[in-house]
Symmetry: C2
Subunit: 651 residues, 2 copies
C-alpha cells in the first residue's frame, strides 16, 4: 500500500494555536538552536557541533567535543529548517543550511562514512561498539535530514551524502562473512532508511532495515561478541560497568522482536525502533512484523501510557517500568519519547487506519510535546512530571531528574530540536493519505493539496481547535475529485456531529473514522461539531498512583492545578463528585486559551508547622470551600516555580 | 545528675511478649550470628569477622576480608552476649565470649590500636581517612561491648582492652600540634566513650567526646585536609567520587552542631551522634549542647519521623530528606536508625524526664525495631517500608532498596546484631532512674532491684502489654523505701487511670509522668488502666503522602493491611469514617496478638487487565463491602510476599 507522503510537509498551517507554535519554532527555536550549535549562547553548555564538522572536514584545528552523538543535533536542526522552509521560504536561512550541508559533505569520508566523533577522535574504532556509541543513530538522523531537505527544497546534495552513507553502511552490515551482523544500541537507522527507501525506491535500504530488525536480540548476542572483541571495555567513563551491553532490554535487544511481549527499556529507543518496524511491516507486507507492532503497541497504550501521552515511568534508563506502574511525581516521560510515540502512531495509522493510534498521537501532541516547550520558545522540559512540589525536589534523590521549570538548553540537547522538527512537519500527522481514503487525524487548521490519481484534492481545515467545538473541512479543488474522506471521531468525544453542506450526513464508521465517499466539488463543506464538555477521567483500577483521584480533560487537553491559581499544598485539594465546571476565557499568558473552574474544597490548617506530625482521632484540618482553577497542563510552569498536579482527590 | 544505670540490664524480663523476643535472641539470633561470624552459614555471604581477628593476632594466615568496619559485628555480638548472660547465665556461651575477648586482646597492637582491617591490610594508613573508614566507629563498638561485658560479668579483660584503646585514641586526637583535630565520619565513638566514662569515671574520656563534638563541622574542614594529605583518594572503589568527603551533611559535619537546624544526612549517623551529645550534655552540664539536642530532636520528631518510629525518608545515603517529606513506599527507615533513635531517646529521657522522648522510643520499639526481625528470629529487614506492592519492586529503580520479605543476613550486617543488643538491654529503656524519681517509661513485664540511697527498691511490673490495658506495678522491697515513682502516661492514651492498693490516687503530672512519692512498702500495688481503643491517626496537613488517608493504631502498635487477609490492590481499599473496629484474637502465627477488623469497601473491577487505562466520566470500579483485617505492622511479611499498607484511604 502506497502512502503519498511527499508533500504533506508543504501544507500551510493556518491554525491559530499550532500556527503560533510553528512561528515560535521559525522565529525563536531555529535561530536560537543555530546559535547554540555555534556556541554563541553564553549561559548554555557549549555544543561545538558545527565546529566538530569543521574539524572533521579539515577546515579547522582542534579536538572533538560533546556527546558521541553530537552530530545528530546538526541533523535535527537541518531537518527542522527543511520543514520550516516549506512553511515560509527564507533565502538567508536556506543559504545557511546549504553551507552546513556543504560542510557535512566535506566531513564525509571517501568511503562514505560520516561521524565527526570517530573521524576526529577514534578513526580506528569505527563499528567496534554499536551497543553504546550511536554511530548508526547519528547516521540515521543525517539521513532523515537529507530526506527532509530534498523533499522541502528539491536539492540533492545532502541526499547524495545520505545515499553514500547508506550504501557504505549496507556494505558494512549484512549476513556476509566479511560483514557485521550487528545493529545499533539506539534504534533510529531503521526509521531513517525506511524514509530514504521511500524517496529513492532503492530496495537495498528497505532490506537493510529488515536485516537490522531481524538481527536484533538474536543469540549469540552481537553486543557480547563486540564487547569481547574490543577487550571488555565500555565507552561511558562514568558508567562503572558495561551496563548498556549487559542490560539488553534497555535497547530492546534482549530477545528477538517476535518474542517481546511488553514495551520495555529506554522509551525513546522503543518508539524509534517500532516506528521503523511499522514502516517496514507496511512496505514489505510482513504480517509477522505487523503482529509485533500491534502487540507491543497494545501493551504500551493499554498499560504503560500516561494520560499526558508520556511514556517512561522511571528515570533510571529513562525507561518503561512495568504494567500499570505510573507514578506521577517520579515519572520520566521524556519529551523526545512522546515525539517518538507520535512517529510510531503515525506509522501505525498508515498501517491500520485505526483511530486509536490517532487518539494517542493527539494526546501526546497536545500535552507532553507542546508542554515540552515554554510559551516563549526558549525553554524546554526534558522530563515531564504530572505532579510536582518544588520545595521537596532537591532533598530527595527520587526527584533528582525533575526540574520545576523549563531549562534553556541541555548538555544532551535532544529534546529541543526534536520538538522543532515535529512541529514543523506536523502535516505528516494531520493527514494519512491512503489509496482508499484521505484520513484526517488531527483538526489543525491548514490547507493542503493532495494528489488523488491525477487530480489535486485541495482541502482546507479551519476552526479554533482544541478550544472550540466547531471544525470546518472545505474542499477547494477546482475540478471535482472522487475520493473518500475519513474523519476521525476522537475518543474523548461522545457525540460528534457532521453536516455536509448544512445537512446531516451519515457515512460508514470504521475503526473510529467516519468514511465519506463522494465526488467532491469546490465549496463542499463538512461542518463538524465535536462537543467538548469537561470530562472527569479515572484510572484503570490497577494504577496505584491515581486511586481515589480524578483528572480533568477537555477535548484532547489534560488540565492541571497550579499553585499560582490554587495556593500551596495541592495534595489537600478536593474536587467533589458533583461539582460542575465552568469554562473561563484565559487572560494574559493564557489569552485565547480556555481555563476551567469548579467549586472544590481545600483542607486548611492554621500554622501546620506548629502542629505535631501525627494526630489521634481527629483530622487536623478543616475543609473549606475553594474555587479551583485548572489550566491546560501543557502550559504549566510558565509563571515560575510552584506546585502542580493533574490528579486531584475526588470525593 | 547521676543516672544509676549500671544494673538495669540485669533486670528479669517476665513480659510474655518482649520476653519471647529476648528468648529468640538468646536461642536463635546469638547462636546464628556466632555461626555467621565464623562463616558457618552456607547460604549467607561470608563474614570472616572472627578470622580477621585471628589473622591480626598472628594466629592464622590470610587476608582481611569484609567491610572496613567488619570488627564491629564481633563487638555487637559480644555486647548482645553480655546482656543476654544477665538474663540467663550460660557457662558455655560465656566461655566462648571469653575466648573471643582473648582473641580481641591478642589482636590489639602494643600501642593500644585495635582494628583488624588496618592492622592486616594497611598498617601505614591508620587515621588517614576518618571521613570514610570508620576506625573510631569500630573502636566505639568494641568499647561499648567492653562496658557491657564488664557490667554483665564483672570481668575486666575486655574493659582493659577498651581503656588501652581509648587512651591511645586520646593521645592521637586532641588540640595538640602532634595530634589530629579530626573526628569520625560515622559517629559512635562519642556515645561509647561516654559509657566508658560512666563506668571508669575517667574524665579524659568525657573530655575527648567533648573535643570530637566541638571539632565537628569546623573550618578549615578536617575531611578536606586529610583528603588533600592522602593525595585526593577515596576509599570505596565503587563510589566514583569522594562523595563521603564532599557531602559533609551526610555525616552531620557540614556545620558546627550549634549551627545545625535540622536532622540531616545518614539517619543512623545522626542518632548515634546525638546519643553521645545528649549524654555529654547531661554529664557535663553543658546547656548549649542541651539546646542543640532539644532543637534537633524537635525537628526530627515533629517533621521527619514516620508513624512507625522510622527515620530516613530516602535510600540515597540512607538519609533524611526534608521536613514533611515522608513517602511510604520509597522510604528507607533502616532498622538500625530506629535502634539509634531509641538510644537518643533514652539519653534525652535521662536529660529531661519528659515523656515525649519515651513516646517516640516506644513507637520505634514496638513498630520498626520489632518489625526488623521476623517472628522466627532468623530473618531481618534492613529497610522498613510502610507500603509495598511486591510485583512492581524489581522493575522501577525507586524501589531498588526495598525487599518484600526479610532476608537471612546481610553483606553489611549491621541490623541483626543491633536488634539483638537492643532487645537484650531493654532494661535501660524501661527505666530511667534519676535521683528525684524512678521513671517508668515502658510497661514491659519485669522485676528489678534499683538502689535508692542505701536501700534496694524492688519493682515488679506485670500485665500483657501492649495487648491488654491493665498493668500492675508492685513493690517487692523487704524494707520500706521513700522515693518517687514517675509513671509514664502514654501519648496514645486519653484517659489513664491509676489505683494505689485499690484506691484512686492522684500524683502530680509533670512532663507526661504521674509522679507518686511515698514510703513504698512491700506489697504496695499500682494498678494502671491504659485504655486502648483503636485510634484513627491522621497526618500533619503538610505530609503529602498521607493526605486523605488514615492509619490505625492501638496502644503503641501501628496496624496495617496485608494482602494475605485483604486481597490484592490495597490502594483500592476504603475505610469509611464511621466504621467501627472490632478486636479479634489472633490465631496461629498471630496467637496472643490482637488483630483489628472493620467494615470497609473495596473498589472492584472485573478483569481490569482487559480494560483501557483511562476512563471518561465514570469510574471503572464498583465499591463493594469488604471486611478489612488489620494486623500489627511489626508482624507483616511473616506469611511470604504480598501487598502491605499502613495508610488507607478514608471516606
Amino acid at each position: 500500500m502506497t502512502i503519498m507522503e511527499t508533500d504533506l510537509h508543504k501544507l500551510n498551517v493556518t491554525d491559530p494555536f499550532l500556527g503560533q507554535y510553528q512561528r515560535l519554532v521559525r522565529e525563536v527555536v531555529i535561530p536560537y538552536q543555530w546559535d547554540a550549535l555555534n556556541d554563541r549562547i553564553p549561559e548554555a553548555d557549549p555544543s561545538h557541533a558545527i565546529e566538530n564538522f569543521r574539524i572533521a572536514a579539515g577546515l579547522s584545528e582542534g579536538e572533538f567535543y560533546g556527546m558521541v552523538f553530537q552530530d545528530s543535533d546538526v541533523a535535527k536542526w537541518l531537518e527542522a529548517v527543511a520543514w520550516s522552509l516549506c512553511q515560509k521560504p527564507d533565502a538567508e536561512l536556506e543559504k545557511t543550511a546549504d553551507e552546513v550541508i556543504a560542510l557535512v559533505a566535506a566531513a564525509q569520508c571517501d568511503d562514505g562514512y560520516l561521524n565527526t566523533y570517530f573521524t576526529i577522535k577514534a578513526p580506528a574504532e569505527r563499528w567496534t561498539n554499536l551497543a553504546e556509541c550511536h554511530e548508526l543513530y547519528s547516521a540515521g538522523h543525517m539521513i532523515e535530514a537529507a530526506v527532509a531537505y530534498f523533499q522541502a527544497t528539491g536539492k540533492r546534495s545532502l541526499l547524495e551524502v545520505a545515499c553514500r552513507l547508506a550504501d557504505y553502511i549496507d556494505n558494512v552490515f549484512g549476513p556476509g562473512v566479511n560483514q557485521l551482523q550487528g545493529y545499533d544500541g539506539h534504534p533510529e537507522i531503521e526509521l531513517a532508511l525506511m524514509r530514504l527507501f521511500e524517496v529513492t525506491q532503492e530496495t537495498r535500504y528497505r532490506d537493510l532495515v529488515n536485516f537490522f530488525v531481524e538481527q536484533r536480540g538474536t543469540q549469540p548476542h552481537f553486543y557480547d561478541k563486540e564487547f569481547a572483541q574490543r577487550g571488555g571495555t565500555w565507552f561511558w567513563p562514568n558508567h562503572g560497568t558495561a551496563w548498556m551491553v549487559n542490560d539488553k532490554a534497555y535497547s530492546q535487544a534482549h530477545l528477538p522482536l517476535s518474542e517481546q511481549q511488553s514495551a520495555i527499556g529506554h522509551a525513546v529507543r522503543f518508539v524509534y525502533l517500532m516506528t521503523g518496524v511499522a514502516h517496514l511491516a507496511r512496505l514489505s507486507g510482513n504480517e509477522r512484523l505487523r503482529q509485533d507492532c500491534l502487540r507491543l503497541w497494545q501493551n504500551m497504550a493499554q498499560r504503560q501510557l500516561y494520560i499526558t501521552g508520556g511514556i517512561g515511568s522511571q528515570s533510571r534508563g529513562e525507561a518503561f517500568s512495568s504494567d500499570y506502574d505510573l507514578p506521577n511525581d517520579t515519572v520520566y516521560a521524556e519529551s523526545c519519547a512522546s515525539i517518538g510515540l507520535m512517529m510510531f502512531a503515525r506509522r501505525m495509522l498508515e498501517l491500520e487506519g485505526d483511530s486509536q493510534y490517532a487518539d494517542v498521537m493527539e494526546r501526546a501532541l497536545y500535552n507532553t510535546v507542546l508542554g515540552g516547550m515554554a510559551l516563549d520558545g526558549k525553554h524546554f522540559f526534558y522530563v515531564n512530571p504530572l505532579e510536582i512540589t518544588p520545595k521537596y525536589l532537591k532533598f530527595n534523590h527520587i526527584y533528582d531528574h525533575i526540574q520545576p521549570v523549563r531549562q534553556r538548553w541541555f548538555g544532551c540537547a535532544c529534546c529541543p530540536p526534536n520538538i522543532a522538527r515535529l512541529l514543523t512537519s506536523i502535516g505528516h500527522y494531520i493527514y494519512t493519505p491512503r489509496p482508499d481514503a484521505l484520513f484526517i487525524n488531527l483538526y489543525i487548521g491548514n490547507n493542503v493539496e493532495i494528489p488523488v490519481g491525477d487530480k489535486p484534492l485541495r482541502v482546507r481545515i479551519s476552526g479554533n481547535y482544541p478550544w472550540q467545538e466547531s471544525v470546518e473541512v472545505r474542499i477547494d479543488s477546482p475540478q471535482p475529485v472522487q475520493h473518500t474522506l475519513a474523519l476521525r471521531l476522537p475518543e474523548w468525544c461522545c457525540d460528534p456531529q457532521i453536516l455536509l453542506n448544512g445537512e446531516a450526513v451519515q457515512g460508514e464508521v470504521r475503526k473510529g473514522y467516519m468514511h465519506l465517499s463522494r465526488l467532491w466539488r469546490e465549496g463542499d463543506t463538512l461542518s463538524l461539531t465535536l462537543p467538548m464538555p469537561v470530562h472527569r477521567v479515572y484510572g484503570n483500577p490497577l494504577v496505584r498512583s491515581v486511586a481515589g483521584k480524578v483528572a480533568i480533560q477537555r477535548g484532547p487537553l489534560v488540565y492541571c492545578l497550579e499553585e499560582a491559581d490554587n495556593g500551596e499544598a495541592l495534595h489537600n485539594v478536593w474536587l467533589p463528585k458533583e461539582s460542575e465546571f465552568r469554562l473561563v476565557e484565559g487572560k494574559g499568558l493564557f489569552a485565547h486559551k480556555v481555563l476551567i473552574q469548579a467549586e472544590g474544597a481545600k483542607q486548611i490548617a492554621a500554622q501546620p508547622e506548629q502542629q505535631q506530625l501525627w494526630h489521634f482521632d481527629t483530622a487536623p484540618v478543616t475543609p473549606e470551600p475553594h474555587t479551583l482553577t485548572f489550566i491546560p497542563w501543557f502550559s504549566w510552569a510558565n509563571r515560575g516555580e510552584g506546585e502542580m498536579r493533574i490528579w486531584v482527590n475526588e470525593g
